[in-house]
Symmetry: C2
Subunit: 351 residues, 2 copies
């Protein structure tokens, strides 16, 4: 490896003190345009890269974020991770990823240790950990900064910054879509108890039924988990009913894929005999036949926004020390994606 050049080499080449180079690197505005240019050229020729370790050590700022997740969905995690990573790269931050188990009792210690070891400026926390009040309170206690990605149509709590996914209204929209297709007998398969999104989506569903004066059939509401297997089991249960539903709204695409398979097993035609909608727009939803109607959330962008917002929030905190910096709240609404699995307008199924 070519001898690594450091800040002093750059300074020598540019004919300035190394402190001035430091100023240029950090975009401080007290350096003359002329000097800036010379320094930047020197950086270019030497192919200089500032040493993150030294920056961290010397500065009071930290140049790393942590991404904390406990999520079985590989697509989601990777998408989010990539979003955060691009923001970090743009801003010159490092990213430390931390998969973990939300049910671990020592989770707070675990996080605190990581924050200290790696000198993290803040954490980005995704569900379900981001929806566990105990954990969040403990982090506040330790004065660890974070931003949450959560499922919520509206947030009262003014304390911590968060990025909200308006699952409720998106679910409302999907349900209305099914209703417009003529469905009155719609089942809802809910995901994990511990995930806020499960409940938000269910609310949206129930709201849509209510506002369209459709009565809720209790045997159409099944609680389960975000898994293919649950979809299969629940579908069997539904299809065995005396009066089976004509449409199923599944809390995510994986469940929907399960329902689809169970339906096909029984020779049921989708969407003509049974319409199926999912949620998430995962690759899953495009790799079934027929393709699934679903709601698309821009996970990459959401995560990226979270990172960006966290970084900004942190620097505001630094400036406005003491005075209460406002916690940003951002909202994203997943958008309806209509595909073949619901493309059939019902005539008169039950009567």
């Amino acid at each position: 490896m070519k001898k690594k050049s450091n800040i002093k080499d750059v300074a020598k080449l540019a004919g300035v003190s190394f402190k001035t180079v430091s100023r240029v690197i950090n975009n401080e505005d007290t350096v003359k345009g002329d000097t800036v240019k010379r320094v930047k050229e020197a950086i270019e020729t030497l192919n200089y890269q500032p040493n993150n370790a030294a920056r961290n050590l010397a500065g009071s700022k930290a140049y790393a974020l942590g991404y904390v997740y406990d999520n079985p969905n590989a697509y989601y995690v990777l998408d989010a991770q990539n979003g955060i990573l691009s923001e970090c790269r743009d801003r010159g931050y490092e990213l430390v990823i931390h998969p973990c188990s939300a049910t671990n009792d020592n989770i707070v210690d675990e996080l605190a240790t990581m924050v200290k070891r790696s000198q993290l400026a803040g954490l980005i926390i995704s569900p379900p950990l981001s929806e566990m009040p105990d954990v969040l309170a403990a982090l506040d206690e330790l004065n660890i900064k974070y931003i949450r990605i959560i499922s919520a149509a509206h947030v009262d709590d003014m304390k911590s910054p968060c990025v909200c996914i308006d699952d409720q209204n998106a679910a409302f929209e999907i349900t209305e879509h099914l209703i417009k297709q003529g469905h009155k007998h719609i089942a809802f398969l809910r995901g994990d108890e511990g995930h806020g999104s499960s409940h938000e989506r269910k609310h949206g569903f129930l709201n849509a039924l209510a506002s369209n004066n459709i009565e809720t059939n209790p045997s159409y509401l099944i609680d389960g988990s975000y898994s293919f297997e649950f979809g299969v089991d629940a579908a069997k249960q539904l299809l065995a009913l005396k009066n089976p539903p004509t449409a199923v709204f599944c809390c995510n695409d994986e469940i929907a894929a399960g329902v689809l398979f169970a339906a096909r097993l029984q020779g049921i035609d989708v969407p003509n005999q049974l319409a199926i909608a999912g949620f998430e727009d995962s690759p899953f939803s495009r790799q079934t036949w027929p393709k699934l109607t679903t709601a698309a959330q821009p996970t990459n962008l959401i995560a990226r926004t979270a990172a960006s917002s966290l970084i900004q929030h942190l620097s505001q905190l630094k400036l406005a020390k003491g005075s209460q910096a406002e916690s940003p709240k951002l909202y994203f609404r997943p958008t309806l994606v209509v595909r073949e699995s619901t493309e059939h307008v019902l005539e008169d199924p039950h009567e």
Copy 2:
């Protein structure tokens, strides 16, 4: 946040010099058992965490690895990432992840920059980047250390350490399984050109046919990509043949899922009319009906082993400076997993 304790606080509490604490942290063996104990207690009470940035800066060692990948398969990537991460945690290393595009011309610069910025001790490179000689040569040139995860039954090149996946023999095994079921007309759907695994698996397949004296039908061999869509298209093509195959061996589970869907679309019974085998044992393979026969590779363990091996190799290099340290080569063979998609013994299909 409680004032962070540093190495000197620990030293004061334990009544030793801070250098001794450093020794304990680094498991050096010149410290008396008694002292070690006292220091460890002090570390415990103060909840001390060594500062990684300072360690990196001060030491000649680097305490971070990079994981470089360009892979569309989320399950694979996440699995590998988790494996590497657990090894890193155990050894006190940081992990810097670096998704990238193998087709990017500046990829080497990109990697070099990252290595410098983040002071990486070495890289873990997965396919297809790990199979691009140009890139590897450039890294050698820059004296950047790495370990590769590649698809190979045997490696001659003694230069760089690698973890090899014996896809070829695993594919041989799957093919023999199909042959034992009575199949003589077996198609092979190959994945991406740029992935060594595609070719290795194809070799294994062809070898198995040859060693069982089965003639290869050229129209049964289709090259494509590791995607669901390819599976669908190729299946249509195969099923339209005058003499369609009775079994299909797909280069991965995603392709197999595509074939399965295309088959069901045409009302073809799997496995009774058509046997399908995949490769990889991704969650995909368990979420189809029928479930897919496949080959399981312990991705997590493989990646973990790669990390471990890289770390060990690096410290050997450090010791045996100048003298040529041997490059470790490790082999993993994916194992056959038989499921419903091939569970049917053929009677006499074609005659």
